[in-house]
Amino acid sequence: METKKSSEFKKKSIFYKISEVLVTMASKPSGFIGLSILFFHILLAFSSPYLAPYDFKAIDPSLMLQAPSSEYWFGTDSLGRDVFTRTIMGGRTALTITFFGSLIALLWGGLLGIFCGLVGGKVDDVVMRIVDAFLSIPWILAMLLIVSLLGTSTEVLIPALGFFYGKGIVRVARAATHDVIAKDFIVSARARGHSNLSIIWNEIIPNVRDAILVEGAMRWSWMLLGFSSLSFLGFGVSPPTPDWGLMISNARGLMSFAYWAVIAPIVGLSSLIIGINLTADAFAKALGIDRSTKAPV
């Protein structure tokens, strides 16, 4: 495995390491495609308010369901709104909410998992039972319940998604900690009299970080899928906001006539999810973690 001493690793700055991983990821075609799609979407999310040719919420009954033309590139929807404008802006909310949601999931799932793996015994048993119980409630039921009782504001959605997608990370972090904990360097750190906190920070986190990050990247794409499904079902973003899930659900009824209003958000959402997936896969490969046998939990 690694023959370098830890001091040599520490010399490299964090930016150097990140760029190294990015280069490895982009060196394979699938990773390159994934990264480009993701980069494109992030760029679009930041710049679309300035690029949009029309107002995303401007309703004009005289322009209802117009086919794509040079004026309205992707046509108009049933309320006469420009589909192109709404499509390029449709990823902003989803990307923001799921990004912060994934961060929360990583944080609490990772920390709880490390804690359980380290402590073991009764505490570990009890926590894992509860995590298992949460895992056996279908995500959609739990999310729908929370959202319908607490509302669909961003302040509810981010922690709710973060919580529900973090429970799978607990398992991964716990398993990774279990693998590390029996290694010699932990035993010697204990023998040197290091505190538990110091062992977690200096020995365990650097060794389980990669596994947790890879899991988090994968969660991001599942969370995006979950969030869009909520929007699609009418429990996510509230109406005037442009959002792909919501756009698909609104335009679905009329798609026998105005298929463009469905196709555009479908392309937007599918490409983003595929982009994140390819990126997460390439990320896992670049860090040398095999997650091909993992089931979606």
């Binding site: 319908s148 599918s270 997936n277 046998t293």
Partner: protein, 318 residues
């Protein structure tokens, strides 16, 4: 072995008890209860108290939980709020419809997934693998509602081959139901097959790289004999668990697919009962879906145990 089975079943039961507690506490802690949502603006004074009394909400929460849990064990989920009828009567036909959908998808999906997974693994990184793997990655990453919507758009609207949405009453007979479910079954089977094919592929690849397969190759065992005698039995065993998890994971996706196709199953009931804030039905659904999840996993665990002699001895020595 016997103790191990008992232990697994007990763990499953504990999980279900925790699920029931979570849903009960969850619906209890979150603002608004059955009466305030049911009475809406008239939720004050005598009307509210009468409602509390009628639904038994005036007794303390822990007693209510116990009596509710006790009747659930006896198979009685109580009354639904919106329809004012026993939840069992609401659930019955829905469970049957969803079972029909799921079993059709599983019957179609598993053989295709096995074949695709084995093909992609044996021809790893060659043309068949690259084509099939690309398609499966697309099929499993794209959200259920998108693939379902695209299926309706292409097959039902543009090609006009099949009806796009299911228009049948909830208590439809199976023979009447079957011709209507082709598109929903394809939509669900597609994602499930893609997931399973990926798992089978990686499982077969792992076994192909193992020492005993290398040994078999060196001994000069014919290729196909080696595949069927050495690789597949060992590769498909770990796949059972993963297949179970995939099926269980799809419980969530089925909800969305049922909504897209207007299918009268459990999934649409989830949406309906949550929209109506019909909390007793939501609790019942949570328990039922969690039981399905737990039992699928349990069956998979037991199957793996029974089919794998190594696990038996390993656990007994412990």
């Amino acid at each position: 072995m016997f103790f191990l089975i008992i232990k697994r079943i007990l763990l499953g039961l504990i999980t279900l008890i925790i699920v029931s507690l979570i849903t009960f506490v969850g619906t209890e802690v979150l603002p608004g209860d059955a009466c305030t949502t049911y009475l809406e603006r008239e939720a004050y004074g005598a009307a509210l108290e009468a409602c509390y009394k009628r639904l038994g909400l005036d007794i303390p929460a822990h007693e209510r939980y116990l009596s509710w849990a006790f009747s659930v064990i006896q198979g009685d989920f109580g009354y639904s709020l919106s329809g004012q009828m026993p939840i069992n009567e609401v659930l019955g036909p829905r469970v049957k419809n969803s079972m029909v959908l799921a079993s059709a998808a599983i019957i179609i999906g598993i053989p295709i997934a096995l074949i695709l997974g084995i093909i992609t693994a044996l021809w790893r990184d060659k043309l068949p693998d690259i084509t099939i793997s690309t398609v499966t990655i697309f099929a499993m990453t794209i959200p259920e509602f998108i693939s379902a919507t695209l299926l309706i758009l292409i097959v039902a609207i543009w090609l006009e081959w099949l009806p796009g949405i299911v228009i049948v009453p909830t208590d439809v007979t199976i023979t009447e139901l079957l011709p209507n479910i082709i598109l929903p079954v394809i939509a669900i089977a597609m994602i499930m097959t893609a997931h399973m094919a990926r798992m089978v592929r990686s499982s077969v690849i792992q076994v192909m790289a193992s020492d005993y397969v290398q040994m078999a190759i060196l001994k000069g065992v014919p290729y196909w004999k080696m595949v069927f005698k050495h690789v597949l039995p060992n590769a498909l065993l770990p796949a059972i668990n993963v297949v179970a998890l995939t099926i269980a994971w799809l419980l969530g996706g089925v909800v969305v697919t049922e909504v897209v196709f207007n299918y009268p199953g459990l999934g649409r009931l989830v949406i309906e009962s949550i929209s109506n804030r019909d909390l007793p039905t939501v609790q019942a659904l949570a328990i039922i879906l969690a039981s399905i999840y737990v039992s699928i996993n349990l069956i998979a665990d037991l199957l793996t145990l029974m089919l794998n002699p190594r696990l038996k001895t390993l656990q007994i020595r412990k």
